[in-house]
């Protein structure tokens, strides 16, 4: 009869909970004397997303008396001064992410170091004239190009500012996690046990996995991950422009081999992110600097992939739009040309897509690349992670102010629902775009040409993007 009761309880939404509460090895018996130190929150992974998570919680008023630990496998990096040359790892930071970094005081540091706001994004096709321009009507910044090192420097400063609440463990890789049983009836610890490489142990009421796309937390929690390796690597480099310009436009052109993007760093420098096949990427890295620069300029300027058919069809469509909507085609700007590349700045890394089927378990939450990994073509990667932080911190802050158990699935599930709803559509769209633009087949090119032109002409869709 209790099974019947359960069925009638109308709590079908909670049925999957049963599976979530079952997890790996049981927590060991511990006497109070030998118990490892207990933290309210442990964040595993000290990259941009993990550090920002710890900093945001550390600056939250309702976490004033809580104990937070951040585990980072690498050493502490000193960022006393920025080198004159730009780092080749940069991120496009959205205004929403800037707001989050502001909330923990880090954005001020970023602004005082260096960043480049951009007002406009021009995205176009190598196989046709179709293009789409994004810009804000109110002349606000669309986003900012910031070196990852600058963000890390700012976050490290803000972590130092709350050192009484947030303890950062450098050179501390977590090698094992032990999960508690959901409802205890015996003397096992209810907390998550964390074992570090040097044998030290910690306990925590909530473990946040921010340990990247090969997340150990996700694997140990046995959360299924849908993943797919693209046949592509991204080549990054720091470039110097032929002539100084009001460099406030982000450029991206979809080549058949993959998108090439030029992100402004200053009036004379830009950062390259070129996604292409593994072989081509290796070639680009191996060739001499002059040939490398020629390849880049050719990629942006050459019309070799145009076909008359597509060009005519595109032109027809464009005239049709301008009849219906006179302002529907924007002015095409010309991308800058590149003069040289910073000698040591060329690097490559493989690309893939990934999405965890669950973001949370009892006492565990995944954020950033540990939860989702996207193609850089949308410039969204780290912004999704910062969005995760804003959402999770909001729910944890409310839970702390209610005196709730921080590891309780009740509020963790709210975080998961909100973020999955947001992330899944964006990741799927990015994946579709990547596949759509990886071809020269006329029908698909025509489709995306018209689609891009139509999207460019229709404000409502553009605004949503």
């Amino acid at each position: 009869s209790s099974a019947a009761m359960a069925a009638l309880r109308g709590r079908a939404v909670l049925a999957p909970l049963g599976a979530r509460l079952r997890a790996g090895p049981r927590a060991p018996l511990r006497s109070a004397a030998s118990a490892p130190p207990l933290y309210d929150v442990v964040v595993s992974g000290g990259g941009m997303v993990g550090s920002a998570m710890a900093a945001v919680l550390g600056h939250d008023i309702h976490f004033h008396d809580k104990k937070i630990a951040l585990l980072e496998a690498g050493p502490r990096k000193e960022y006393d001064h920025m080198p004159d040359s730009y780092s080749n790892r940069v991120s496009s930071i959205s205004p929403g992410s800037a707001t989050l970094l502001s909330s923990c005081g880090a954005w001020d540091h970023v602004c005082s170091l260096r960043l480049k706001p951009f007002r406009r994004m021009q995205v176009w096709d190598a196989c046709s004239e179709a293009m789409i321009v994004f810009e804000k009507d109110d002349l606000d910044d669309m986003g900012y190009i910031v070196e990852n090192d600058v963000i890390m420097s700012a976050l490290t400063k803000q972590l130092d500012a709350v050192a009484d609440r947030v303890e950062v463990f450098y050179r501390s890789r977590a090698v094992g996690y032990t999960w508690p049983l959901p409802s205890r009836s015996c003397d096992t610890s209810p907390w998550v046990q964390v074992e570090l490489a040097d044998g030290r142990r910690l306990q925590t009421k909530l473990l946040i996995g921010a340990d990247g796309h090969n997340s150990v937390v996700r694997k140990e929690a046995e959360i299924q991950n849908i993943e797919h390796q693209y046949d592509q690597s991204a080549v990054v480099a720091t470039l110097h422009l032929s002539e100084a310009t009001d460099n406030n436009v982000a450029w991206q052109r979809f080549l058949p081999t993959g998108p090439i993007a030029l992100l402004p760093l200053s009036d004379t420098a830009s950062s390259l992110v070129w996604s292409t096949s593994h072989d081509h990427a290796s070639e680009l890295l191996a060739m001499d600097e002059e040939s490398f620069v020629d390849s880049i300029n050719s990629a942006f300027w050459s019309n070799i992939n145009h076909s008359d058919f597509i060009d005519t069809a595109g032109a027809m469509f464009r005239s049709a739009i301008s009849l219906l909507k006179p302002s529907g085609t924007a002015v095409r700007q010309l991308p800058p040309s590149v003069a040289k590349v910073d000698p040591e700045s060329r690097a490559m890394f493989p690309l893939g897509m990934g999405h965890a089927t669950e973001y949370v378990r009892h006492r565990v939450a995944l954020i950033g690349d540990a939860a989702h990994r996207v193609h850089p073509l949308a410039g969204q990667g780290v912004n999704l992670g910062f969005g995760d932080i804003a959402c999770l911190a909001h729910h944890l802050s409310a839970a702390a102010f209610n005196g709730s158990d921080l590891g309780s699935l009740k509020h963790l599930l709210k975080f998961e629902t909100e973020r999955q709803r947001h992330n899944v559509s964006l990741i799927a769209a990015t994946d579709v775009l990547k596949r759509l633009y990886s071809t020269t087949l006329a029908p698909l090119v025509l489709l995306r040409t018209w689609g891009l032109q139509a999207t460019n002409a229709l404000p409502p869709i553009k605004v949503r993007i």
Binding site: M5, R9, G10, A32, H62, H64, R184, S189, F401, N402
Partner: protein, 287 residues
């Protein structure tokens, strides 16, 4: 079974002035180990924390001028009467209060003690005692800043005695928070028939409609025993979402906030002006 036997031998509970009902105790005895299963028999009580903790917290914050970030209830001594497995004591402890939780069922206290033991902060802030309210009156006169009696008064044998005892252990101008169930046709249909027999939201037999307390009667008893009733709010449980919310009508569940008058408990004078707006009823002064 053994512990129940031990309990009956150690503590005689059927005194004529006791507010503890022996039949009620037996019901809770059987479910003592289920308290902390958030999706089990006590799920509705767990989710009630989402409204009763903010209610208590915000009321107390509005009454005091100190604010300790991270510990909004710091420095406040709370008595949680009928604390069960400690479902409400723990959040209040996490918010900084010093909590004493009492419950006549020893197994409940054992469960509560065990659950808090793994958190050193809670273990220090919360003390549990297997006891009825009357048994602690002697040693706890005017000791507590706040008394919380949530989902309790519908189980006590003698409500007026219960309220008098609350008054005795509460400091002058201290706060009393009660949540309970109204005695209406609606509460019979929804609270007993649907909640217990059909949907199993509450374990069957938990409540007896006869003992439900209408808010008018509760208010009358409170005012007659030195309390000023400040707030009465209706509460509603949504079984589909498993969550509680506030509502205007008190025909089902409701919450009450009352404040003990500022005059000293054993004074018989009625002319002393109190610092609060509470009217002193001369007939019932000096309980």
């Amino acid at each position: 079974q053994l512990s129940l036997f031990r309990f009956t031998v150690k503590r005689p509970f059927s005194t004529s002035h006791s507010s503890v009902d022996s039949e009620e105790m037996k019901k809770f005895q059987l479910l003592a180990h289920k308290w902390w299963d958030e999706e089990g028999e006590y799920a509705a009580l767990h989710s009630m924390n989402d409204i009763r903790v903010p209610f208590i917290r915000d009321t107390l914050l509005s009454l005091s001028s100190n604010y300790h970030p991270g510990n909004p209830l710091s420095g406040i001594k709370i008595l949680d009467v009928g604390c069960g497995g400690g479902l409400l004591s723990e959040p209040l402890g996490r918010l900084g209060a010093s909590v004493t939780g009492i419950d006549p069922v020893e197994d409940n206290i054992r469960t509560a003690d065990q659950h808090k033991s793994f958190d050193p902060v809670l273990a220090k802030r919360i003390q549990y005692k297997s006891s009825s309210l009357e048994e602690i009156v002697e040693e706890s006169m005017e000791t507590f800043d706040v008394i919380v009696a949530s989902e309790v008064v519908e189980h006590v044998a003698d409500l007026e005695t219960f309220i008098k005892c609350c008054s005795q252990v509460l400091k002058p101008e201290g706060s009393l928070f009660i949540t309970t169930i109204n005695k209406t046709q609606l509460s019979y249909v929804l609270g007993i028939v649907v909640a217990e027999k059909i949907m199993g939201i509450v374990p069957e037999g938990t409540h007896e409609w006869e003992k439900f307390v209408p808010p008018e009667e509760l208010e009358r008893l409170l005012e007659a025993n030195g309390f000023s009733v400040r707030t009465v709010n209706g509460m509603l449980y949504n079984p589909l979402s498993g969550s509680w919310g506030w509502m205007e009508s008190t025909s089902l569940n409701y919450a009450v906030h009352a404040v003990k008058s500022g005059a000293r408990a054993w004074s018989h004078t009625t002319d002393a002006p109190s610092e609060t707006d509470v009217q002193q009823r001369s007939a019932t002064a000096g309980t």
